[in-house]
Symmetry: C5
Subunit: 144 residues, 5 copies
């Protein structure tokens, strides 16, 4: 419903110079093997897996199966695949959905860059309650 790939490419190009290979597959369950092919056949260093699973029970199950496959694909290749799934029922209106898709995709594009180029940036964020595409959360103050 939204061209998430275009948003991701835009955000990556704004931030780093790199080659980007883009593929589109019919459904979320076709994503895991395509990611693995991008890593092994196209020599990609990292992959973003973008999708918008529907709100029916069967859609959620497909997303679960795809997510499990994406994790196995990562383990088989020792390469990160950043899954960016936005579920239709995460927000109440289409307008909010469009905003969420945009925000989450851009934040995860930056995460993908950080994982391979600037891992130390991610370490600084640890435990600060960042959530991609939603409200950030407060740190819990610990009195010890």
């Amino acid at each position: 419903m939204v061209d998430m790939g275009r948003i991701a490419v835009d955000e990556i190009k704004k931030n780093v110079a790199c080659d980007i290979v883009r593929r589109t597959v019919p459904g979320v369950k076709d994503i895991p093997v395509e990611c693995k092919k991008l890593i092994e056949e196209e020599k990609c260093d990292i992959v973003m897996a973008l999708g918008m699973p529907g709100k029916e029970t069967i859609d959620k199950q497909c997303a679960h199966e795809a997510s499990t496959g994406i994790i196995i694909a990562q383990l088989m290749t020792n390469t990160h695949i950043i899954e960016v799934f936005v579920h239709e029922d995460e927000v109440a209106s289409l307008k909010e959905l469009a905003k969420l898709v945009e925000k989450r995709t851009r934040e995860h594009a930056l995460n993908a860059i950080d994982i391979i180029l600037y891992p130390q940036r991610l370490s600084k964020m640890a435990g600060t309650g960042q959530r991609q595409g939603g409200e950030d959360r407060s740190m819990i103050k610990q009195n010890r």
Copy 2:
């Protein structure tokens, strides 16, 4: 309940000249290994996995197990397997079911052709809300 394989073969033959190997297995859980054998022993470039899981809880679980296996088979072979499962309870009447099976099978046959021969066609579809065998959905207009 419907000979999905005949529909798929018909659609593929209408669109491309290629060799087709067809196999039938007793149940959905026999599908993953048969797909892998078609890829590794019959040297198929892509496989369509066609099935009509029943509406009972146990049928849905079998379909889930088969889907998970199909994803692993793809990861083990770096080859796409297009799963076309039509669940008996997706529509209200047998007449609608027959129409859905026909439509989804033909659309996925075209997807299978595109994945291996015309991947650029799929990229043009990205984010346009296409759903195989159901009503297409509108794109969300994004004002940025």
Copy 3:
């Protein structure tokens, strides 16, 4: 509760001359690895996995875990394992259960024979609504 192995052996011997290796394991979750050993260590061409999972939630979960393992065992060996699980709560009485076990085991024994010796027989059945050990279903008539 029923010696399914005896029924399967009987049906196979009635139909083909072949060597049969039989193994019994304590529970359903011990089945996947035993099937894999039968294929790899005993050089079996096909395996029938027979079991009667109980009706409690935990029994159903064990059956799900076993089924998932059986699918992975097939993918690791490129060999079919015909799973014949009869769930205690599929029918209302013990008498019906015994009949169902008998019918499903015999039908699947024939399927196992067909898969390795007569795959063309299975193709003829495609889309005709056959269900192992239950009522067969009608084909949907398609007017196109």
Copy 4:
């Protein structure tokens, strides 16, 4: 809550002379890899995986994940791992729980011995409704 390992070792030693390697891990999810290490690094012929998952939803999920891992570990090693999980909520009182743990562990210890030393003993039990640590069930009489 009960030292299941001590019970298992006691039952095995009563019945056969063999070397036993014992390992303790913090939680059920640490079990699969430890079993695999016992097989591959300590050259164990069979492993018993003993655990008492709690009664909360999260505990049941951990047990499910551990069971799935144990099945995969078996498939990767072609070696049996006898899972003996006793769920806290299987019985009503702590006293019954202690009895169940004792009974199931001892019965499974005998199963482990049978699998590697006396597989023919297990075959005799097939279809007789034996359940480890619970009431045995009657065979269904089949009139054919």
Copy 5:
């Protein structure tokens, strides 16, 4: 919401002298492959996987997928990965949550040390009802 890595490092350094490699990833589903890379590329002898999954259904599913992946990563590497997940809804208040995170992380850091350096210490604990970061449970007295 809490910097669990800092707590783990602190507890480990208090108890043993060793090199520690720390990595931060965007979400729980990115954990399995990062653990595997730490083992295979950074030659870590053991890994602690720290995370705080949210309380929504989708968060719980992500945690389940991550846990499954962590178990597979362990099986692929024959190396322990100690998962320390604290679920937001395990306790009623943020204050209790902070205490639980602290307690569980420190206890599991000690477990990690024991697994690779002092496995005999863990064996002494077997069946004594220890739970990381919660109330310990009593042993069941067995009168036999």
